[in-house]
């Protein structure tokens, strides 16, 4: 759809979410959907991020707080398990990190350019609460 001329699009500026019929979308996950080129799922906002969340599954308890509060549908959960972050759609807001209840957290923010492997190697130890 990049910069099409006036005669090259659907009248009324109408957009379709999917290519072809899309039945049972409410129970079909992204990987099984036939998105149209005009679905924003096909776009990326990765370049919005200054910091990125890094996921450390060693500490995750699959509570899904990050999933429910993610404003960008970027916490990928399947079969009740948190499996990763959708880095095309994450804007780096950091909510997932804030709501993560584990100790140490299972998600932490790092500079966008920071290497994930290094981040995981540097993961903080469990904090002992001061009374």
């Amino acid at each position: 759809m990049e910069n099409n001329g006036w005669s090259e699009f659907e009248i009324g500026a109408m957009l379709r979410s999917f290519e072809g019929p899309a039945t049972n979308i409410a129970t079909t996950h992204t990987e099984d959907r036939n998105y149209s080129a005009s679905n924003s799922f096909t776009a990326s906002v990765a370049d919005w991020r200054i910091e990125k969340p890094v996921f450390n599954k060693d500490y995750c308890i699959d509570c899904q707080f990050c999933w429910i509060y993610c404003p960008d549908m970027s916490i990928i959960s399947r079969d009740k398990k948190m499996i990763g972050v959708d880095m095309d759609h994450c804007k780096g807001c950091g909510i997932c990190v804030e709501v993560c209840p584990t100790n140490p957290k299972s998600l932490l923010m790092f500079q966008e350019q920071h290497d994930d492997e290094v981040a995981l190697a540097e993961w903080p130890e469990k904090e002992t609460k001061e009374k």
Partner: protein, 407 residues
């Protein structure tokens, strides 16, 4: 819920409002969202009574304003079905925002506009201010001069508007009170014939096709807006007139009643011509005949399709005329009248040597009398004889006080 067919006589005595309401019943509209306003109220009331008597199967949504009426029509049309409503004047003005939205979203909606003046000062009578207000809104505008035409043009409007190559909303105009409240004989169709002419609604990009979700009413900024507006203009300029002509032809075949994009009366050998709209066309036709008895070869041009503007048809109709009057029934408020400007725009690059003079008349329901038109034709003949306009280019006729002319 079953609904009943209505038995009609071949010729019924209907006013323009009831004729429009009957047409709306016969095309079996799926959703009417409406709000009453004088003088179009009886259309909405008529439809409501059909519903109450079991003659209508669709939904009738009695909303809280004209803006909501058109908003509901847009939602319903985008959902995917036949949609229509009616309004006048202030209600039309309140709708204006949504008129642009419905045409930009390419939704086929039929709007019966019973023409009425715009306040202030408040006035309930017929002039063309509301019709003129709609002329840049991207709608198709058809003008009926009589109850029969109000009936007929409704069927034509649905058929043109809903065509998948067109998909543009359409107004059917008639003059407030003079047409809307004046009962005349109207030749009717049976319910079957009327419905079959328009045909079953064929959905397109419909929201209610639940397996094909669509997004309607997007935002476009400087990178896309121009292309979308250009597309709409292109379709109005190239696709609508041929479709209207095709439907006019089909309608003539069905009914024997012939409509033209630009109507011409006594124009074959005319030297002078009045160009006007609405009920004034009938008055002018009568006067033109009388002028011919006085040796003035007078003709009348009625604009049947105001939008898209019949540029080529106007040029053709006026090509041999020596002197033309443009009659505008709306205050131009600081400019020449719309018809004056648009006739001038059409004729300017042609070989026409015709004089063109503008007249503003009939505001707020003021009568245009035969005497006015007799004087007017005489002025035109004088202009034709002199080969130039002898009067000011803009004259007000029928207004009290010192003669009011400009330009």
């Amino acid at each position: 819920m079953a609904f009943d067919k209505m038995e009609l006589r071949d010729i019924e005595v209907w006013d323009g409002n009831f004729a429009a309401a009957q047409a709306m019943r016969q095309v079996q509209i799926d959703v009417v969202a409406a709000y009453p306003i004088t003088p179009s109220t009886p259309i909405v009331e008529g439809y409501a009574k059909f519903l109450a008597d079991g003659y209508v199967e669709g939904e009738f949504v009695m909303v809280e304003s004209e803006h909501a009426a058109m908003s509901g029509c847009i939602g319903a049309a985008a959902a995917g079905g036949r949609v229509a409503t009616a309004t006048s004047s202030q209600g039309f003005a309140l709708m204006v925002e949504t008129l642009y939205q419905s045409s930009g979203m390419r939704l086929p909606i039929v709007l019966n506009v019973v023409n009425r003046a715009l306040a202030a000062p408040l006035n309930v009578n017929g002039d063309h201010s509301d019709m003129y207000l709609g002329r840049d809104s991207g709608w198709i505008q058809l003008d009926a001069y009589s109850p029969q035409e109000a009936y007929d043009l409704n069927f034509i409007a649905f058929k043109v508007s809903e065509d998948h190559d067109v998909r543009l909303p359409c107004m059917v105009h008639q003059d407030g009170f003079m047409t809307s409240h004046t009962a005349q004989g109207v030749k009717t169709f049976t319910d079957e014939v009327a419905y079959d002419f328009v045909g079953e609604y064929k959905p397109m990009n419909d929201m209610l096709d639940l397996d094909h979700p669509v997004t309607h009413g997007v935002q476009t900024e400087e990178d896309w807006h121009f292309e979308h507006k250009a597309r709409q203009h292109n379709d109005l300029m190239t696709k609508v007139m041929p479709k209207i002509q095709e439907v006019f032809d089909a309608f003539e075949e069905l009914s024997g009643r012939k409509y033209n994009i630009v109507e011409q009366y006594d124009m074959d050998d005319a030297d002078v011509a009045v160009v006007c709209m609405g009920t004034s066309v009938e008055t002018a036709r009568e006067v033109a005949k009388e002028m011919r008895a006085e040796g003035i070869k007078a003709g009348v041009v009625g604009i049947r399709v105001l939008r898209p503007y019949p540029f080529a048809q106007i040029i053709e109709a006026l090509k041999d005329i020596k002197s033309i009057a443009a009659l505008d029934r709306s205050s131009p408020n600081g400019a020449p009248g719309m018809l004056f400007n648009e006739l001038a725009g059409a004729l300017y690059n042609t070989d026409s040597k015709a004089t063109l003079s503008g007249y503003v008349y009939g505001l707020g329901g003021r009568d245009l009398t035969k005497a006015h038109l007799t004087d007017l034709y005489k002025e035109l003949q004088a202009n034709a004889d002199a080969g130039k306009v002898l009067t000011p280019l803009q004259q007000f006729i029928g207004v009290r006080g010192p003669k009011l002319t400009f330009l």
